[in-house]
């Protein structure tokens, strides 16, 4: 610019500034970046709970306490539930790949299966809670019960949130709102679903096998 040119230089005619709202910079979409950042905050939330778990566990010997020595048996209903959640992560990703190709039928089938598997996981977790309650293990029964039910409970709440998200995606998918080009919500929901899956694998390994 020369020294005498006037104050404000207009942007190129026909590039409305308001249009910048939507991904004009290219790269990752707003929605997916937002979800990734949200998951970062979720990781920190679970880190707080895990920190409390390890700290409590280190301070209480033996762990688990005598009364609940063999109560958490991994080779029971819970491993079936785990398998179901892991499989649902795969079907979720199949749905993403399908909609990226523009295959709406494959997308709907896979997201539907994921949705149902999520519900089945929640039902199985509820049954498992029932069994544990029956054997006298509750939130109030010492640090072992407190940490177990808090960690798995918050995970379950997140699965419930994920199921709601998948339900919305399924509903919107059935009304034809997604295409190969426009499916940010599907990608975001699948990221969240993989996240709850990974948290569960961590929880299952730590609570049941160590």
């Amino acid at each position: 610019m020369t020294a005498d040119s006037q104050a404000i230089v207009p942007t190129e005619e026909g590039t409305p500034v308001a249009g910048l709202a939507h991904d004009s910079r290219g790269g990752i979409s707003n929605v997916i970046l937002g979800m990734i950042l949200f998951l970062a905050s979720e990781i920190m939330f679970f880190s707080g709970l895990f920190a409390a778990y390890f700290s409590t566990r280190a301070a209480n010997k033996p762990w688990p306490p005598e009364e609940f020595a063999h109560i958490l048996n991994p080779f029971s209903l819970i491993i079936v539930a785990t398998a179901i959640l892991v499989i649902s992560s795969f079907t979720c990703q199949f749905a993403v790949w399908a909609i990226r190709r523009g295959d709406r039928t494959g997308f709907l089938r896979n997201i539907g299966i994921t949705f149902v598997l999520g519900i089945i996981f929640l039902v199985m977790q509820a049954i498992d809670y029932g069994i544990l309650f029956g054997e006298g293990m509750t939130l109030g029964s010492g640090p072992f019960g407190t940490t177990y039910f808090t960690l798995t409970g918050f995970h379950g709440a997140h699965v419930f949130g994920g199921v709601l998200m998948l339900g919305v995606v399924l509903y919107r998918g059935m009304s034809g709102q997604f295409s190969a080009k426009h499916h940010d919500a599907v990608e975001a929901a699948s990221l969240y679903w993989h996240f709850v899956d990974i948290v569960w694998i961590l929880l299952f390994s730590i609570l049941y096998f160590t």
Binding site: M1, T2, A3, D4, S5, A7, I8, V9, P10, T11, P16, V17, A18, G19, L20, A21, D23, S24, R25, G27, I28, N30, L33, G34, L37, F38, A40, S41, E42, M44, F45, F46, S47, G48, L49, A51, A52, S55, T56, A59, N60, T138, L139, G140, G142, P143, T146, T147, T150, F154
Partner: protein, 543 residues
């Protein structure tokens, strides 16, 4: 302004004013509502502080008959000031300024932005409502168990639970706001606005957002565990049941130390905008400032246990060393600011006065904080009025002066009218003197051993004069709010019309009308530096 460049339908229909404000997703209106809501709770929190100062003016119980009520009052004072005033106030200024400063039409997620805001009045009302249901939380803003645990002589009743729920709500609001800020900054900068051309205010909000994103969920986890302990018989923090009270302190401070940077970094951003404009110079050492801000953010995550030296449960040398280390990036910023002023052409308008107030008072707050970073000194000063002096010098002397600098600076942009300079200067002088009269004596009280959080003290231990001085100062601070309120009231009606750019600013918010139209800009100036308006005025890109 012409609207041809706006998105179709941007101004297509009009709604009633009240309905429009209650349902708006415009970041400017939401930002203004943040500011108003924060000021409402600032005044409530201030009144509670007046009760505290009145009670402590002389030995004995004056206006309160029950020490427990005193505990409720100071707990709610701190909680309101921290969580419903200072953090949302800075988020609100950011909400208003950031999209304008980077040349964006709005935040990335406008409806989530509205949600973030509306959680705040709800949280504030929940906190205040606890006075009506058998007493507010009374375990201090830190709410350490076992003091905050359920039970007689601890914290019985719903007050503490309402406090937990309100804080989770406000924390969620912060997290959603942080995500919104980050996506807005990474994805919606105008063409030419590279990261290293972002105004410093935007950088400080960026680092603040990262801190909020990574730290706030951690206190949420502590709060839900406390809630489970209180209501469902949990044993996280109950030493008799196999839990650990120190665990709560660790998790709490893992959030709350980064949170003190959340409470001050955007205020540093405000004065880093104000100082260059009113000294007619660029900010000295832009990049050094950015890296110092990032450095403070990073170090902020490894100093939390300096709040817990006296527990005997933390590794003292490490946390002491890292705490001292934070003085380095903070010192860099002091140089940035002082050398921005150095040989500048200063205009002593009200925003600059408040920015200078920040600079000087924050310096004292930094130095008296470094005292308690030294472990042996901290053992003597822990939980005395020294700590109260320190935290008010950084949070009030720093952040609140910064907030007023920002309010005086952006009020013309928000409302289209200038605030009255004379009344602004009266407010500044009253507030500056009142502040120092209130909080400087607390250093002496702390050194003389007066513990914080007490309603009464003996009359023969030499604390009387300093306490009386602090109380007089407190009422001066309260009085300084009257010229401010009057100023806002008359300026909105009869204030001088501001025009687009009353201060000859550097950043993009001054390139649009005052107040800006929906979606902010018709056209943007060319962006070749961090001072696009300076470049446009003077015809050459900055350095």
């Amino acid at each position: 302004m012409a609207t041809h460049a706006l998105a179709p339908g941007a101004q297509a229909y009009s709604r009633g004013t009240l309905y429009e404000w209650l349902t708006t997703t415009d970041h400017k209106k939401i930002g203004i509502m943040y500011v108003i809501n924060s000021f409402v709770f600032f005044f409530i929190g201030g009144l509670l502080a007046m009760v505290v100062r009145t009670e402590l003016a002389v030995p004995g119980l004056q206006i309160l008959t029950d020490e427990h009520v005193y505990n409720e009052i100071f707990t709610m004072h701190a909680t309101l000031m921290i969580f419903v005033f200072i953090i949302p106030m800075l988020a609100g200024l950011g909400n208003y300024a950031v999209p304008l400063m980077i040349g964006a039409p709005d935040m990335a997620f406008p409806r989530i932005n509205a949600l973030s805001f509306w959680m705040l009045p709800l949280g504030g009302i929940l906190l205040m409502s606890s006075f009506l249901v058998g007493g507010a939380a009374a375990a201090g803003w830190t709410s350490y168990p076992p003091l905050s645990a359920e039970g007689p002589l601890k914290s019985p009743g719903p007050g503490q639970d309402l406090w937990i729920v309100a804080l989770v709500l406000i924390g969620t609001s912060s997290i959603l706001g942080a995500i919104n800020f980050l996506v807005t900054m990474f994805k919606m900068r105008a063409p030419g606005m590279t990261l290293f051309r972002m105004p410093i205010m935007v950088w400080t909000v960026l680092v603040t957002s990262v801190l909020v994103l990574m730290a706030t969920p951690v206190i949420t986890s502590a709060l839900v565990m406390l809630f489970i302990d209180r209501n469902y018989g949990g044993h996280f923090f109950d030493p008799f049941g196999g839990g650990s009270a120190v665990l709560y302190q660790n998790i709490f401070w893992f959030y709350s130390h980064p949170a003190v940077y959340v409470m001050v970094l955007p205020a540093m951003g405000v004065i880093s905008e104000v100082l260059p404009v009113f000294s007619r110079k660029p900010l000295f050492g832009y990049k050094a400032f950015v890296f110092a801000t990032a450095g403070i953010g990073a170090l902020g995550f490894s100093v939390w246990a300096h709040h817990m030296f006296t527990t005997g449960a933390v590794f003292l040398p490490f946390f002491s060393f890292i705490t001292f280390l934070i003085a380095v990036p903070t010192g860099v910023k002091m140089f940035n600011w002082v050398f921005t002023l150095f040989r500048g052409q200063l205009t002593f308008s009200t925003p600059l006065l408040f920015a200078l107030g920040f600079l000087t008072m924050f310096l004292i707050g930094g130095i008296n904080g470094a005292f308690s970073a030294a472990v042996p000194v901290d053992f003597a000063l822990h939980d005395t009025y020294w700590v109260v002096a320190h935290l008010h010098y950084v949070l009030f002397g720093g952040s609140v002066f910064g907030v007023f600098a920002g309010v005086y600076y952006w009020f013309p942009k928000m409302s289209g009218r200038m605030l009255n300079e004379g009344l602004g200067k009266v407010q500044f002088v009253l507030m500056f003197i009142g502040f120092n009269l209130t909080f400087f004596p607390m250093h002496m009280l702390g050194l003389a051993g007066m513990p914080r959080r007490i309603a009464d003290y003996a009359s023969n231990v030499g604390w009387n004069d300093w306490n009386m001085a602090a109380t007089i100062g407190g009422f001066m601070i309260a009085a300084s709010m009257l010229p401010f309120l009057w100023n806002v009231f008359i300026s909105l009606r009869t204030g001088k019309v501001a025009g687009d750019d009353p201060w000859e600013g550097n950043t993009l918010e001054w390139a649009t009308s005052s107040p800006p139209p929906p979606y902010n800009f018709d056209h943007l100036p060319e962006i070749r530096s961090e001072r696009p308006l300076f470049d446009a005025r003077h015809g050459h890109p900055g350095h």
